[in-house]
């Protein structure tokens, strides 16, 4: 708990200071992607790590957030902060609805049914042309006021700092949530459902609360993404975002707050690094995923924790 807090504070300080050292549009672009991924991975981890189920359709909330932000800002000209709040609220409402249905299921069925919801939403986004403009997507989302001034580099830096702010809020909320009574109850359910039930914890309720919070965070991430890319198409519901999220969380280490942050940074950097390999890059990426599962089954943080514990045991023995 103390380690997590200190690590996250240190990461925040580093993230704030980075633009002073590293300059350039490309670096800021990667920074924005990392902040977006940190939000997504943290929200996904709330369900994977703390409810213990795998929602393979988590892109549903990302997509809803992105579409809400895109529609509200381009049709009604709402300001950045209002659209993000609306994106969070509407994604949370969808989270309540989808969670109430899917949290009755367990294991592989939960996985597949959440995926079904995301696919249905993707097909709706593709076919409801009056609202979503179909496969063409919504383009020309107006830039928020704070990103209008300065040159392109200045705008990217602004986006980066807003991203840090949003990611910090996300992690603060998750931190407070995980170490609240609700979070502890959720962990109890994850560790042993029947024991938790026997001491009066209602798994469905705690699962649902976590699900709604995660959905709201994803919605905000989606809205941020829509503003940054200034285009939203049906592929925000697609499987590729899902794969990145999944790999970030499981490679970083699920069930910890630090893991997804580390995973997000690593995966974004890996994807950028693999660009040098051109056509081969996706094949290599697939192999890396397989290797991570086989050789780092608990994720990077799990590996470090295990080494750390072994080290402490050795020290205690030597003393």
């Amino acid at each position: 708990m103390v380690f997590e807090r200190n690590f996250l504070l240190a990461a925040f300080a580093v993230a704030v200071l980075v633009p002073l050292v590293v300059q350039g549009e490309y670096a800021m672009h990667i920074g924005v992607l990392i902040m977006f991924s940190v939000m997504l991975a943290t929200s996904f981890n709330l369900i994977v790590g703390y409810v213990g189920e795998l929602p393979l359709g988590h892109t549903a909330f990302l997509g809803i957030g992105a579409y809400v932000a895109a529609l509200l800002s381009s049709t009604f000209g709402l300001a950045f902060h209002w659209t993000l709040i609306c994106a969070a609220v509407i994604a949370a409402i969808f989270g309540l609805f989808i969670g109430a249905i899917t949290l009755r299921l367990r294991g592989p069925f939960f996985v597949i049914v959440t995926l079904c919801f995301a696919e249905v939403l993707r097909l709706i986004a593709n076919n409801w042309i009056d609202l979503t403009n179909g496969p063409m997507g919504i383009s020309g989302i107006p830039k928020p006021d704070w990103a209008m001034s300065g040159d392109v580099l200045q705008q990217k830096v602004s986006f980066y700092y807003v991203g840090i702010g949003l990611a910090a809020i996300t992690l603060y909320l998750s931190y407070r949530f995980v170490y609240s009574n609700i979070g502890r109850a959720a962990i109890a359910v994850r560790e042993n459902r029947f024991v938790a039930q026997s001491v009066g914890i209602w798994p469905f309720y705690f699962g649902l609360v976590t699900f709604v919070l995660a959905a709201a965070i994803s919605g905000v991430a989606g809205g941020y993404y829509a503003y940054y890319v200034s285009f939203v198409g049906p592929e925000v519901f697609g499987f590729s975002f899902m794969i990145s999220m999944l790999i970030m969380v499981l490679a970083g280490g699920k069930g910890t707050l630090v893991g997804p942050v580390v995973g997000a940074v690593l995966v974004v950097l890996l994807e950028e690094f693999l660009r040098d390999f051109k056509d081969l890059r996706f094949s290599i990426f697939g192999l890396v995923v397989v290797a991570v599962v086989l050789f780092l089954p608990q994720g990077l943080m799990g590996f470090i924790t295990k080494r750390h514990e072994a080290y402490k045991v050795r020290q205690a023995r030597d003393a």
Partner: protein, 290 residues
């Protein structure tokens, strides 16, 4: 009425094809409980291998089919022994991530080798239309339905009547007890995955002779196969057939009468409704609740 009969016939034919393409997953997901997102990619390998054997090398269709089945069985066995066995018993997350990694690798490597173009497996059957009263079907589709039924029956007999089938059923009921009874469960896991992969590959090649074999369709095939398996109930061949037929007919009728845009959403909607109303699936046993 004629339109209805035609749509129904189309739906039944496509439903049989869905059942065939989901058979492998019935074993791997339904019995072994591996949420195999690489199922569609095994299907793609089968289709592409079938194309290269019949179209590029000019082999006989049935000889090529035998080669495809054998090759996919070997690939499946190796995947299980070197990857799946290492994460067995750790819940579904590692296996999902593993199979997703595998599917990314297979899809993109296939794209590098054959590109995005749709490729056609050379079919031995004529594409002549047959008139059965008001309903029109092509000869090749009808022949393929017969082959599908034969394969489904064969797989069913293999599981129910042979000693290796009995060993498979024992292993998936209680692996420990099966081991105590002298069954080499590691082999059985490998064999079941190999059979699942071989069925997926055979489906890919057979359907590649009617539609096309393409490197990028794996994801869609996987999703539809999951829909079919869940609709029918886990690990039941009768269920896979029923699930496939329901999906095929529902899509055909919806596409014919309502709108073509949302056809792909029908399966997902059916799964959501099904798991709310009948969490055991149509033919699932009661101890296999969702």
């Amino acid at each position: 009425m004629d339109l209805f009969l035609q749509l129904l016939a189309n739906g039944l034919v496509i439903g049989t094809f869905y059942a065939l393409s989901a058979l492998g997953l019935t074993l791997v997901f339904g019995l072994m409980r591996i949420v195999n997102f690489a199922h569609g990619e095994l299907y793609v390998i089968g289709g592409l291998l079938g194309w290269s054997l019949t179209d590029q090398l000019g082999l006989n269709f049935f000889l090529a089919l035998a080669i495809v089945v054998f090759a996919l069985a070997v690939i499946g066995y190796l995947i299980d022994r070197f990857m799946m066995s290492r994460v067995r018993g750790q819940g579904e997350e590692p296996t999902i991530l593993l199979t997703i990694g595998l599917s990314i690798f297979i899809t993109n490597t296939a794209l590098l080798i054959v590109g995005t173009a749709p490729l056609k497996v050379v079919s031995p059957f004529a594409n002549k239309p047959l008139f059965l009263g008001p309903v029109v079907l092509t000869q090749s589709r009808l022949m393929l339905v017969v082959i599908c039924i034969a394969i489904i029956l064969g797989a069913h007999l293999l599981i129910q009547k042979t000693s290796i089938g009995r060993a498979m059923r024992a292993t998936f009921q209680d692996a420990m007890a099966a081991q105590l009874a002298g069954i080499r469960t590691a082999h059985i896991y490998g064999f079941t995955f190999a059979l699942g992969a071989a069925l997926a590959g055979a489906a890919g090649m057979l359907l590649g002779s009617i539609y096309v074999a393409q490197a990028t369709i794996g994801g869609l095939v996987s999703l539809k196969a999951f829909v079919v398996v869940i609709l029918g109930g886990m690990g039941s061949f009768a269920g896979a057939i029923a699930g496939g037929l329901i999906l095929g007919v529902a899509e055909a009728l919806w596409g014919g009468y309502v709108a073509t845009g949302y056809v792909d959403a029908i399966g997902f909607a059916l799964v959501i409704v099904m798991l709310l109303l009948r969490p055991y699936g149509l033919f699932g046993k009661h101890n296999e609740r969702a």
